[in-house]
Symmetry: C2
């Protein structure tokens, strides 16, 4: 069995068909394919959720109509809302991507409340995943991390059962079954950056390398995930936390620098410190190496202190007083 | 001190100025900057090695003349050879990149013999490194590996002391010191793929992301190197090799899958098995999971066998007979 069928089968095993599920459907090929696959698999209490981003003028309205009719034909509930992403972006001084993402989350949040259902199924597929990996890679700050198959976010539970399917495979499925979809809807949704990665960057890299770059990115993201699992295992073995929950310097100093860094990052995140970046870890390294200073400032006002062979997070004075 | 000055200083500490060194100089900004930096640092027994790739017609000859004159002005030895990379590529049915690389290695090999010196200094810098990382990433098979600062290869010892310097920094250095170089020489050296990454892909990715993509790639390559160090540490802790040098299945099964894979890859490579790829490791996984079969074929005709709770590499029958 192919990886796509296999992962879809695994997701189906864990997903109750009798329960209600929200499904994000733009009317484009990917989400229409997803919707038909769900119906074929026996899901009957689906709520088709369509957000009109207000970016395509009349075509937007037609997308909403198409999706509503499709839901009706399949005997499913339908919910829709129109937002003006451009206007929102301008008002809040944020990028179109950010505005669109916030609008989608807001919409799904409202649907969740209205339909008393926190489970949302999304049609993100392997090519979307490759674009996400490339985008994280270009930003240089999140490793090669991609989207998770199941993700909890702000009270919602997002499911992405198509992450192993290539865009091409989904379209082929629709064509074979003579199912209809609206072209270009998804393309215009998340706006500029993602579209340019999809339509310009990846085709150029494919052409230069003579390879399927998306497949390479996905393999690398898989390797990266494996590396993360190895780091988790190594941190457990390293056993640098003492019974009082402080980091033991003697144990830390026996580790390779990269593992010290990972241990420190995990330790700080575990203490609720946000904004742990390369700079913070670089400063933390000085504490481990036992030179001056004995204390460094952390993002958010707290401090990391070295004392008596241990490192621990200290509240700031305002907190203490 | 900046990372570039620091790494250059570290390299200088380990490099004897009294010894003879070969330096690859194309006449372009990067290698001309390198040459002047070496002379300023007190290296006096340098041999300036210039390979004319025969790709730029009359300009090629001018590059060679320029480089020869520069060596003379600096009181250094000069060695040059002309090859016809296009012709070589055609004759051997290989890409221009491969032909150019082979020609360079051949040239440095001859220089090493003639000058009785295996140490070669090359001008690869941080932007070259980012291109290499991107190229390995696109091929999807070598992780995010970049060039090594010191690399042993076919009897040569290649040194790359400028890997932390950005192209821009090297040019600024030349401009400030009013030193001359030949434009476009390096650009035409390694031919198509690398040039397209440099001139098309990276500028496009910079523009789309609004970031310095090369810097992001270098940070990621650094993270990847750190992950490799963590894997090395974890493999030592995992201790899966028994006193007879076979893999202990019980110990293997306690590890996360990614670490099993890394252990198996290391084990096979250590036994001189070449061509250990994802497919081989995937087959090896079945052996570890203790289902049928009890033996799998390895690239090169040998076999990996499971017996009595151990896994070991077996010679093929021809070897045994």
């Amino acid at each position: 069995m192919d990886a796509n069928e296999e992962s879809w089968g695994q997701w189906l095993e864990g997903a109750s068909r009798r329960k209600r599920w929200l499904v994000g459907v733009s009317g484009g090929a990917d989400s229409v394919a997803l919707l038909h696959m769900l119906v074929e698999a026996g899901f009957s209490k689906l709520v088709v959720c369509h957000l009109d981003h207000g970016l395509r003028g009349r075509a937007s309205t037609a997308d909403a109509k198409f999706t509503g009719r499709l839901a009706e034909e399949l005997g499913l509930e339908f919910d829709t809302r129109r937002v003006e992403v451009k206007k929102l972006a301008k008002e809040n001084g944020e990028s179109m991507e950010t505005a669109a993402r916030r609008a989608r989350h807001g919409f799904f949040g409202e649907c969740a409340e209205k339909w008393r259902c926190v489970r949302v199924i999304l049609a993100h597929h392997a090519d979307d995943q490759a674009e996400t990996v490339l985008w994280n890679l270009l930003r240089g700050s999140h490793g090669l991390r991609g989207m998770k198959p199941i993700q909890r976010m702000g009270g919602l539970e997002l499911h992405r059962p198509l992450l192993e399917w290539r865009r091409r495979e989904l379209r082929e499925r629709l064509t074979i079954k003579r199912l209809k979809w609206r072209d270009d809807t998804t393309n215009l949704e998340p706006v500029a950056v993602r579209n340019r990665l999809r339509n310009e960057a990846i085709p150029l890299l494919d052409e230069i390398s003579g390879r399927d770059v998306a497949a390479g990115l996905l393999r690398l993201a898989g390797d990266w995930k494996g590396q993360t699992a190895i780091t988790d295992w190594a941190l457990e073995k390293a056993d640098v936390i003492d019974p009082q929950g402080r980091m033991h310097l003697g144990a830390m100093r026996k580790l390779p620098v990269a593992l010290q860094r990972a241990a420190l990052a995990r330790f700080l995140t575990g203490h609720g410190v946000t904004g742990v970046d390369r700079e913070v870890l670089e400063h933390g390294k000085h504490l481990i190496e036992a030179h001056v200073p004995a204390v460094i400032n952390l993002p958010g006002g707290r401090r990391l202190r070295r004392r008596a062979g241990r490192i621990f997070v200290e509240a700031n004075e305002e907190d203490a007083g």
